[in-house]
Amino acid sequence: MLRDFLVLAGSSILHRKIRSWLTVIGVFIGITAVVALISVGLGLERTITDEVAKVFGVDTFVLAPRGSFGAARTSEGSDQYALDLEWLRTLDGVLTAAAVRQRTAFVQGQPGPEGRLAQGFLPVMGLSPELITSFSSFVGSLEVEPGGRLFQEADRVVAVLGREVATRLRVDAGQTIVIAGDADKPEITFTVVGILATADDGRPQQGFTSGMPASATTIYIPYDTMESLWGPAQDVLVTLVRTAPGRDVDEVANRAQAELRARGSRVTAITYSDISSAIGTVTSTVSAFLAGIAGISLLVGGVGVMNTMFTSVLERTKEIGIMKAVGAKNSHILSIFVIESGMMGLVGGIVGTLLGLGLSAVASAIIGRMFDVRIAVVASPVLITATLGGSFLLGAVAGLWPARRASKLPVVDALRYE
């Protein structure tokens, strides 16, 4: 019987082509907007998580100062922490680790023309050489000026300088600088092996994609050498840890965090899944908000369906009377009209989904061109199924009231209606 009702409803829709199409247009505009917005949102989310995965690698986690990430973010968290890097490297499941520590130190460079030494308090960063050898995706492409180099694993008393600080200290590659550490430690003379090249536009290179741009005003020395100046690390900014192949990153990260905290390091372990879920939360909140706004147009579409159905009921009063006279129950009439409005919703849904996906592809291409990235085009089966189901439901619900009115028409009055 359902199939017959589909045929009856369909023939009525086709009989009123123009009005039916106008109603369908009212529905699909809203659906198009919702589908396009959600699809673009999903595409952006996938693009961002893909990018993060590319830089981060799914086998790597970061140790950040406690309270600097996620829901537990607090303002009181210190931004540097104590760390025993050698111990961390021996932790079960850890393949390799690299850290960055930072101090401000009194530094002497080379004498100027009048014989005075260039000197001052300057930021000094200790970098594990593994940062460059094993975590190059974090560091990005660091380039030194011709004739220089970055440090290697065996290097101890060498330094790489930012361009600006090199100028201030009047040093070039091959010359030396002296850095003073804690009062009870001897000063150390470092050989400058390289000076960071500035990018073509004069700005310093965007070296550390993890949020620490290579600075033209910083002195970089090997991490281990920092200990000779300032003792065991109390001043770590960030640590990168790569897990052994096949190990569960989240498990190792949690254990590392717990054991480091027990040893007095105020750290938070951040894994790829932490970051992608944080990104997911943000992007899905944004797309839900936008889709909510677009949903208003769906409401308008629904009211359009309702209006069309009321007109249809009025026009077909006599037809309803005929159907009742030849044996249609109220429930039959109700079904026919609800199916009719649901079908208009569904057709709107189909057209809207296709247009929405097309629109999202175009929008992704435009956004991608604007920001010079490739944005993934996502056609989510869940989204499509939900949209088609939802649009039928929208139509059916909008048609419910007119359909109820139609079904309740007294048959004698309906037959008499002209």
Binding site: S11, L14, H15, G321, A325, V326, G327, A328, K329
Partner: protein
């Protein structure tokens, strides 16, 4: 047992601000297989009576029984089923569904009774052939002449093999010749198939096929004559 038995039927309804007493204590008995013509001036209650005979409407008071079954005791859905199975309607204005083909219009009463598609289609074609429209099966009502439309309506009325055909001015919108064919069709339903036919009519030709003529005035039976 008579097919239809009405006793002391009254029917009041509101038309805008006025109360209309359409039927005022009407008695009527209709036997299986007869052709009855209901006549009377407009406002005499013919159509209201027709609605009550066809279980489209219930009387305000009095008793109405169909095949011995009291109509007042039936629920709305039971009335619908009774209508669907036992009553076939033919209207002055044909009342076909304009969006459906002749065949689908004839199938309509069977759809609501849940008759399977194949059986339905065969029955519709058989009935349309019987009324002489074998070549008009796929036509929509607006592609058919008045007489053809009324024949589709008669085929539709016969779809569920009803015991009684109620025809409200079936020749009212047709020329004399076409009207004649329609009346002959209705007469044969009684003579050949033993069906009961009730006609509401002004048409003197229609009166000729009736076995009994009942005249109404002001909601009451005023005269009943048996035709030879």
């Amino acid at each position: 047992m008579p097919l239809l038995e009405l006793a002391g039927i009254t029917k009041d309804y509101r038309l805008g601000k006025t109360f209309v007493h359409a039927l005022r204590g009407l008695d009527l008995t209709i036997e299986q297989g007869e052709i009855v013509a209901l006549m009377g001036p407009s406002g005499s209650g013919k159509s209201t009576l027709m609605h009550i005979l066809g279980a489209l409407d219930t009387p305000t008071s009095g008793t109405a029984a169909f095949d011995g079954q009291s109509l007042q005791q039936l629920s709305e859905n039971q009335l619908v089923t009774l209508r669907g199975r036992k009553v076939g309607f033919v209207f002055q204005t044909f009342n076909l569904v304009p969006t459906l083909s002749a065949q689908k219009n004839v199938e309509l009463p069977m759809i609501f009774l849940g008759v399977p598609k194949r059986k339905r289609a065969a029955r519709a074609k058989e009935l349309l052939t019987k009324v002489g429209l074998a070549d008009r099966i796929r036509h929509k009502p607006n592609e058919l002449s008045g007489g053809e439309r009324q024949r589709v309506a008669i085929a539709r009325a016969l779809a569920n093999n009803p015991e009684i055909i109620l025809a409200d001015e079936p020749t009212g919108n047709l020329d004399t010749e076409t009207g004649g064919t329609i009346l002959e069709l209705l007469r044969r339903l009684s003579v050949d198939d033993g069906r009961t036919v009730v006609l509401v009519t002004h048409d003197p030709e229609a009166v000729r096929i009736a076995g009994r003529v009942i005249r109404l005035r002001d909601g009451r039976t005023v005269e009943e004559t048996a035709n030879a």
